[in-house]
């Protein structure tokens, strides 16, 4: 048979426990009932013990002053605000750096005779056919590095 979860005297037992009337100053009928009712006896035992250790546990706390907690919260909030304000700047700097590297590469390509001569004899399709795996890996790196950088900055 399924065990019941409720007992009609549950709230009375709990009230007696929380008002420190349990067991000696509680109604004798209620005490008698709790002796045979699992729900009420569990409740009286557990609630009684928790209630009696409550003040002991609370009293053992060494709490920081409310003013200090407020001040530390302010400091932390400001630090977080500064960090989040710095985040777009870091992203901008990253983009600017990448653009500078690209620009330097373009200048080098436009002015270097050696580079232009090397490029003239270079066939992209032949190179791709020869080094497909390498080319795919490089393309993946080119795509993944900015994505990884963005994710890292966003989490920060």
């Amino acid at each position: 048979m399924r065990q019941p979860l409720n007992c009609e005297f549950e709230s009375e037992v709990l009230a007696a426990v929380l008002q420190s009337r349990w067991p000696h100053r509680a109604d004798p009928k209620l005490q008698k009932h709790a002796e045979t009712c699992t729900i009420c006896s569990d409740l009286a035992t557990v609630a009684g013990l928790i209630d009696s250790t409550r003040e002991q546990t609370r009293a053992s706390a060494t709490l920081p002053d409310s003013g200090r907690v407020w001040w530390l919260a302010q400091v932390k909030a400001r630090r977080e605000a500064a960090r989040s304000a710095a985040r777009p700047i870091t992203a901008t700097q990253l983009i600017a750096g990448a653009a500078a590297v690209g620009f330097a590469g373009a200048c080098f390509g436009a002015t270097s005779r050696w580079f232009q001569e090397a490029l003239a004899g270079f066939s992209f399709s032949a190179a791709f056919a020869e080094h497909t795996a390498l080319a795919t890996a490089m393309a993946a790196v080119i795509l993944l590095v900015p994505a990884a950088a963005w994710l890292a900055l966003r989490r920060d």
């Binding site: 006896s41 569990d42 557990v46 928790i50 609370r58 053992s60």
Partner: protein, 190 residues
Amino acid sequence: MFREVTFTDVNRAAVDAQADFVMDEETFRGFYDRNARGVWAYLARVSGDRQTADDLLQETFYRFLRAAAEHDSEDHRRNSLYRIATNLARDARRRTLTRPHADVAGHDVEAIANRTSAPDTTADFDRAMSRLKPRERAMLWLAYAEGASHREIAEVLGLRPASLKLLLFRARRRLATLLGRSETRHAAAP
């Protein structure tokens, strides 16, 4: 005339800005004074560790202040605070579990009882509590130390109110069994 805004200015503005908290200092201080001790005791009981409770108390109040939630009553505010504390204790426990040789049972709270009055009853109770699951400890503490209703406990622990009665019943049964009292009493009963 107009001065160019630099990155440094943007940073300074962010740092100088008043933190966007859900309440002002005076209200916070009253709220803290009314609830900090209870929250600490809850954290200590759920985590089983005084140090963890010390560490998480400040963070609980900080996250409460930063949460963009609106509270229509003191009880609602208090429930939010306990919900934050519950989540922080859960995260702290997960971190502890990933650390090798961590004392996850957390018998530190036992020391509180042993240091003060040290009756066997209290020591037995602390030992039995430390053998319960954190959620069971949280449920029992909220119900019988904080006097929270089933709806409030469900809200704090992120459970369905309908299932709370059964979960609380099981937790109570388990603690009573660990204490070995009900069993003995019923065995003796005619």
